[in-house]
């Protein structure tokens, strides 16, 4: 196996692209644009208690779409996904604990 399994530097005559075609990239960008429009609609349309869960859901979908297709995580070695989502998981865990502790610390005494 080559030492550069996923990203060999080929010769100029041997393209090494893996992933969607330009047409598919445009379709993904259009889907992202629609999702962004949905996000912005929460500013003008009252979705009631569904608004915040909807925003978090849309944010997550956009995040994963950019990471999977534009950053090629879906087509690349799984180790890269582990590096990205490992860092994300560590950050979410660390700051969730920190925020919880800070909220308790600033709460009025019983």
């Amino acid at each position: 196996m080559s030492a550069t399994e996923t990203t060999p530097e080929p010769t100029a005559s041997a393209p090494a692209h893996h992933g969607p075609s330009p047409r598919e990239y445009v379709q993904i960008a259009l889907a992202l644009a629609v999702l962004t429009a949905l996000e912005i609609s929460t500013y003008v349309v009252d979705f009631g208690p569904l608004a915040i869960p909807m925003l978090i859901g849309l944010m997550t979908i956009k995040f994963v779409m950019v990471a999977n297709f534009f950053m090629h995580l879906k087509f690349d070695n799984a180790m890269y996904s582990r590096m990205l989502y490992g860092g994300l998981g560590l950050a979410i865990s660390l700051y969730a604990v920190t925020l919880t502790v800070m909220l308790f610390a600033s709460a009025p005494a019983l």
Binding site: E9, A12, F63, V66, N77, L90, Y95
Partner: protein, 199 residues
């Protein structure tokens, strides 16, 4: 330089592995600022709070940054195909959109300053400016890298076979974009909704 010169014992390109490790660690960097912002959301003192945000304006700059990811990935695709002329065109389009985003941020900061929100005005203001300012700095560095890549490509120092260089800058650029996806929702949209619900 042979292909194996960039390999690791994992069988991966060490430059890409380093970039992904760096990007993973950047979540901790931005996470700290986002947490501070959420913690100080109500600590506005006597100054303005989230009501100062201009959501329609920020939505447009967010959209521009999101679309710059499309032009970036098209630049990478063109490079893998050896089409350097098209690659340079998309690189310039990406840098241009980044500049539009940065221009929007400078305009937004100027408006906020005139309306009484400055860096030392309140914990809310400090956390907001530090978070969005550091993101803006990342965009600025991304633009410099894109323009550097463009210049190296024009002078023939980046060749058609060296598409990993475009891919690396692309990874950084897309990361800056996904961080803004999070900031736009968590910093702008959700607090604005919560404020309206509380009113």
């Amino acid at each position: 330089m042979s292909a194996d010169a960039h390999g690791t014992t994992l069988g991966l390109d060490h430059r890409k592995l380093a970039m992904w490790t760096f990007l993973g660690s950047e979540f901790l960097f931005f996470g700290a600022f986002i947490s501070a912002y959420l913690l100080y959301l109500d600590a506005t003192g006597s100054g303005p709070g989230v009501e100062i945000f201009d959501i329609p304006f920020t939505s447009i700059s967010s959209f521009v940054l999101l679309m710059s990811s499309l032009t970036m990935v098209l630049a990478h695709h063109a490079h893998t195909q050896g089409d350097m002329r098209r690659m340079r065109l998309w690189i310039l389009a990406t840098a241009g959109q980044g500049m539009v985003f940065l221009g929007g941020q400078v305009f937004e900061f100027t408006v906020f300053y005139r309306e009484g929100l400055n860096l030392t005005q309140s914990p809310f203001a400090s956390s907001f400016f530090v978070l969005t300012g550091f993101h803006g700095l990342h965009v600025f560095l991304g633009i410099l890298m894109l323009l550097g890549l463009y210049a190296l490509s024009v002078t023939g120092k980046v060749k058609p076979g060296q598409h990993v260089k475009t891919e690396m800058i692309g990874l950084y650029w897309h990361f800056v974009d996904i961080i803004w996806v999070v900031i736009f929702t968590v910093v702008y949209l959700i607090p604005d909704l919560a404020m309206e619900a509380a009113a």
